[in-house]
Amino acid sequence: MEEVRIRNVTKRFGKKVALQGVSAPIPKGSFFCILGEPGAGKTTLLRIIAGLEIPEEGEIFFGDQDVTLVPPQRRNVAFVFQDFALYPHMSVFENIASPLRLKGLSEEAIRKKVVEVASFLKIEKLLDRLPNFISGGERQRVAIARALVKEPTLCLFDEPLVNLDYKIREDMRAQFKLMQRELGQTIVFATPDPIDALSMADIVLVLHEGRVQQMANVWEAYKRPANVFVGKYLGFPEMNIFEGRVSRSGNSLFWESKGLRLDIGSFDFLKPYEGATVLLGLRPEDIRLGDTEGADFTFEANIVLSEVVGSDTIVHLSVEGVALRAFVPQIFRRPSGERIPIGFRHEDLYFFSSQTGKNLLLQEG
């Protein structure tokens, strides 16, 4: 069942277009992730769903009710702001109790609910403190508690992880996902970080300059990105993109750029593009280093630099003067200049139109 439907929403600020014709259904109980760079319109979309902004065009439906003009007070949504927006002059308890105060509950019932939510989020010890005297991670939990206690139709999160330390962030991702599963709460989560989307989301909506690039199940979007932007953005590190020409040689098709030549005879959908320039995408995590068994394509590469990130390594390589990055989920230290065989499979390749950026595989169907 659909909980919320965004229908053809356009929003401008003066002359600047923040959102252009955005449509999306948000299913009940889903973890819905809005992914985009800063300034892509994520926050604006969340604010429109919450009722803090009214779109110039388009509608928002909750169930089958048009709520486009309903003010936030009467929407039964919760919003976790990027800066958490706790009331600094109220104790943590009062902050969490705030949405309950208007429901005509007894003091006792309020206390019971607040304590319940607080212990669920493990902040029951902080209830008497003031927000300015607790840590950033704790503040975020208070903001989440204030949202959950309301038992809203949907819970909106505006980049809640960017203000947190790297360490806490890792921790919070797992907790978010568990919490959402346990409560069955519909969550809309805006983030600039593809890892957030990949690790937590059921559905991802990729925004770029106010337009929807793709909306799909998150693994669907990862495996079949609608265009170059989604391919590059949804994934870490960024997808390698090469420009090359499709040409026929013998009975097979080849994709060629200055240093690389790949036999792409098995990709039927590329036949119409013979003689055209297309973009080839290759995810760093799909490149195998050293052990190339089972690979459809193999090359010899020079290691330029091994960049260790946490317990993973981004390996910068050079194949016949073409630079590319590979991702190894372990610490991988090799001296620069060493030669190493690399390989990848057919299904690891993505082809995009060099004009529109569209994924050619999807174009066909």
Partner: protein, 273 residues
């Protein structure tokens, strides 16, 4: 090197002491004079320390017009500060949160500020004739309303600073929680700018308390404020310096209280106003 530092330090501390004496002496002397009999005021050599505390001057102030003038100043300043701060809160909220409407954009804000930068005397000619035309010259009403209008820009300007410092998202969180606009103002905005509000009240009040020319021109007979009353003590054959001094001492007490209470805010506030 060492010698040079001591030299600089000597000049510095000496300068501070001299400046302190320069600042303190007139205040001290007023205090001193207020406890003298009128005959002692002109004595040569002057008595630097009051030998006995003669309260005649204070008695005179408290029994006569002086008391009325002080009370008038107190009341007029209080009422018009209250109105100015209420209106100022409304306007500053609009300025801070909706800066793009014709009434609240930068130009409108600038216009309001010019009211403050205009010399009051340049406004007073038409205002004087307006109140005269309505037969309201020398009434509490005219004084209070005029003071309110003159103080509004200051109130708006100070409060806008405090409003700007308040993140918008806190109010929005309150809307999402279900509170209406006015509930949010009462529950969130006002408590959070509370100390700023207090400082604004104090500053507006002291400006009216200290004001002279409006009090002199728009008041004077029925409604006499102490600043307008002060010069009248100098008329007559013998200037009653001890009474003037006593009234002055009473008049600077609120200034001292406010200065001590709000010393931490003063830097911030003056940089803005």
């Amino acid at each position: 090197m060492r010698r040079k530092i001591n030299w600089g330090k000597g000049v510095g501390i000496g300068g501070l002491i001299l400046y302190g004496i320069f600042i303190l002496f007139p205040i001290y002397w007023t205090f001193n004079t207020s406890f003298k009999e009128i005959g002692d005021v002109y004595k040569v050599p002057p008595s630097f320390v009051p030998t006995r505390f003669i309260l005649d001057a204070y008695r005179f102030i408290f029994q006569g017009t002086g008391r009325i003038a002080l009370l008038n100043s107190l009341v007029v300043a209080a009422i018009s500060t209250a109105i100015a701060v209420v209106l100022g809160t409304m306007a500053s909220y609009a300025y801070s949160r909706y800066p793009f409407t014709p009434l609240t954009n930068e130009g409108a804000q600038f216009n309001l500020l010019t009211v403050r930068m205009f010399p009051p005397i340049a406004f007073l000619l038409p205002i004087f004739w307006m109140w005269k035309r309505f037969g309201l010259l020398d009434t509490y009403f005219a004084l209070i309303i005029t003071y309110t209008a003159f103080n509004l820009p200051l109130a708006v300007w100070l409060l806008k600073g405090f409003m700007d410092a308040l993140p918008r998202s806190i109010e929005e969180a309150s809307y999402v929680d279900g509170y209406s606009f006015w509930q949010t103002i009462r529950r969130i905005v006002l408590p959070l700018i509370g100390s700023g509000l207090a400082a604004t009240v104090a500053l507006c009040w002291i400006f009216i308390w200290n004001e002279f020319i409006i009090a002199y021109l728009l008041g004077g007979r029925n409604v006499i404020l102490y600043t307008a009353y002060l010069p009248s003590l100098r008329r007559g054959m013998r200037i009653m310096w001890n009474q003037i001094a006593a009234l002055s001492v009473l008049a600077i007490i609120p200034s001292i209280i406010i200065l001590v209470l709000f010393r931490k805010y003063l830097v911030k506030i003056y940089l803005r106003s």
